[in-house]
Amino acid sequence: MAEVNTGDGGGHGKHDKKRAKKSSTRIDMTPMVDLAFLLLTFFVLTSTFSKSKVMEIPFPKDPKDLKVQQKVNNAITFLLTKDNKIFYYNGAFYLPGNKEGKPETTITEKDFSAKGIHELLLDRNKPTIDAIKKLEEQYKNKTIVADTFKVRALREQGRKAVPEKGIPAALTVLIKTDDQAVYKNVVDLIDEVKVCNIGIYAIVDMMPSEKKLIDEKVK
């Protein structure tokens, strides 16, 4: 604890007659220390909390590359629209009565809750997540040393863009927004994609045919 000024610390009997010299030369520092620590706490807290957090997103140089890829790959497309609504469809987009004879694409509604897109993405990205788990296990058992094993798993999955024998292709997530989608939902979706360890994702333009499907669902 701080020293308490008792008032007689300086006097030692000799100068009893001169009262002016009796008072202590020591100052009680407690309030000053209190203030110093208060300021210290304030600056420590404000300086660490004021720094903003960021998420990094890469943008495709040429969105056309992705459109080609989407056809071959294990892709999932999310369509964002007004009122926090989100729809998705798997694989490539097929119009009704297409030349390939594939059934026409239908879209399914999901939501941003833990049961919604999070579960869906976890399920769809199981191969990558399993690969990461395996590498984590290896890292724990010290069979691999690099602590960048997560990156490695993602890269390995990403490289298998064309499905090899028995190995599923990496999941590609395409995010498409219409003219009424809110920024928050896009960030939420990208966040989910990152949490689910999906390496390939892109924000691309929505096709008019996709917009039409949404318009039919949202009225």
Binding site: V33, V44, K53, V54, D179, V182, V186, D191, I203
Partner: protein, 220 residues
């Protein structure tokens, strides 16, 4: 058995070293803390699970709730140089006082024509001012120019600093310029898309989105 002698002296501690340390830390934090200027725009950023910190050297593009674009460069020296270059581009001359004031400013969301007027405003007036946003349409893409010249000026200054350090025989650590978008959670993504397009048109394909760290642990 001998009695344990209790020291009879004053139980007080000498606090001077502790106080010295406390004040040293206070001084350190006071000096390192950057004074946050009032932003002319309130941006309520969305949440994410990312715990990456905002880079030091950054060109910040804000999008407010109404979808208006704002521009800022974190480095004051670069900001001033960019203003001079932009003045040349748009045939405007800025007085030394205006340039100095601009160096102390944060984000602004006005076209070049209104910039002088905006610089002259007081902090309170800026807060009330309804910023029209930096124009970014194809006819008058001022945001693109700001980004381009900001990028060029930053690189030139970094190069100069590097050369200077080299001539003095010192090591130079370059902090690469990053681009960050700070958009309001409720902003229309179309407006954010426009800002992103300005970046990609300037061959910038990797940038940061500013978010708040999400509270809670629902996702694991």
């Amino acid at each position: 058995m001998p009695k344990i002698k209790l020291p009879k002296g004053n139980p007080s501690l000498d606090m001077t070293p502790m106080v010295d340390l406390a004040f040293l830390l206070v001084t350190f934090f006071m000096l390192t803390a950057s004074v946050r200027m009032t932003e002319p725009v309130i941006v309520d950023t969305p949440d994410s699970h990312s715990d990456k910190l905002l880079p030091e050297n950054v060109i910040l593009l804000s999008v407010d709730k109404r979808g208006k674009a704002f521009f800022n460069i974190s480095n004051a020296e670069v900001r001033v140089k960019t203003l001079e270059r932009m003045g040349k581009e748009y045939n405007m001359t800025f007085t030394p006082a205006e340039i100095k004031a601009f160096g102390k400013m944060t984000s602004f969301g006005v076209p070049m024509k209104q910039l002088k007027q905006f610089i002259a405003m007081s902090e309170k007036e800026k807060e009330k001012f309804n910023s029209p946003g930096v124009p970014l349409d194809s006819l008058d893409n001022q945001l693109s120019n700001w980004i381009r010249y900001g990028h060029i000026q930053e690189r030139t200054l970094a190069k100069q600093a590097q050369d200077k350090a080299k001539s003095l025989g010192r090591e130079f650590k370059d902090t690469p310029l990053r681009f960050a978008i700070k958009a309001d959670a409720q902003a229309n993504f179309l407006n954010v898309r426009d800002v992103i397009k300005v970046l990609t048109d300037n061959d910038i394909y990797v940038f940061n989105l500013i978010t708040n760290l999400e509270k809670g642990d629902d996702v694991k």
